[in-house]
Symmetry: C2
Subunit: 157 residues, 2 copies
């Protein structure tokens, strides 16, 4: 299936660091050759957007299809690529809910988008509370440990 | 960008009805020519998965790039395609968090996946509470009205 970027990330972060993404304010600028402001009309009524993007700096040769230790950390179990959110995954897709700070023409300002400068965006959706998981959420300890400083490295210590 | 399905949905629902998705139990079977059970090792430690799929039955000619009334309902405002989650969107990508009922070999059983039978899946990620939106969520009234019976048509009356 052929996908076309709808826009691109402009971010102060140019390297894929693991943590501290809440400190990042970035923009997504939609492709002005295909879209007008009509494409984002009403988006500013939502506090959060879900951004679908491609980890395009991952060499397709380095995509994992089996199991690995998350972040290479042997304290954590070897889990399948679809049991973790690592970037070196088939199709290299990332999905993140960010706070929408503003919409100016075709440019969205967002906080906490964990995508580096130049990342192609393939979809933007408004976040609705109805799309939150229903029922109790259960997850393994390693995933909470991995996420401890993902948004804010001063949060745990 | 070229994407390849990692698997396919098998669902009792063969038509894209709007509502009542909580009643649907479906399966996602990963492509056995590319993956082994290692690809989903440890996934069953999570209660929910985030499924990224393609609305492949939408004719690319019918993809919207501007603004429209959600569900064609003129009681709701005309909003941009990126301010709604309609299927007729650029790249035709859907993202939904579902309850994971079980993993059997390369087959995941899920509840509430809003994708019809035969839908290609392009990613599966474990859901972690840390990926929920942070801060208060705000959304317009039309979106809550649209979602009222999306999961359960007996929920509102």
């Amino acid at each position: 299936m052929e996908m076309q970027a709808i826009g691109q990330v402009s971010s102060p972060r140019t390297e894929p660091l693991d943590d501290d993404w809440d400190s990042i304010i970035s923009t997504i600028t939609l492709d002005g050759s295909r879209f007008t402001e009509d494409a984002v009309r009403g988006l500013d009524a939502f506090s959060h957007v879900e951004v679908v993007y491609v980890f395009d700096r991952v060499d397709p040769q380095n995509v994992q299809t089996a199991a690995r230790h998350p972040r290479g950390n042997e304290d954590w179990p070897k889990v399948g690529i679809f049991a973790q959110r690592a970037k070196g995954r088939p199709n290299r897709i990332g999905v993140t809910v960010c706070r929408l700070l503003g919409v100016d023409g075709l440019t969205l300002s967002v906080r906490s988008l964990d995508a580096i400068d130049g990342t192609p965006v393939i979809d933007v959706k408004p976040y609705m509370v109805e799309f939150a998981p229903r029922g109790e959420v259960r997850q393994p300890a390693w995933s909470s440990e991995l996420m401890a400083e993902y948004w804010d490295s001063s949060a745990s210590s």
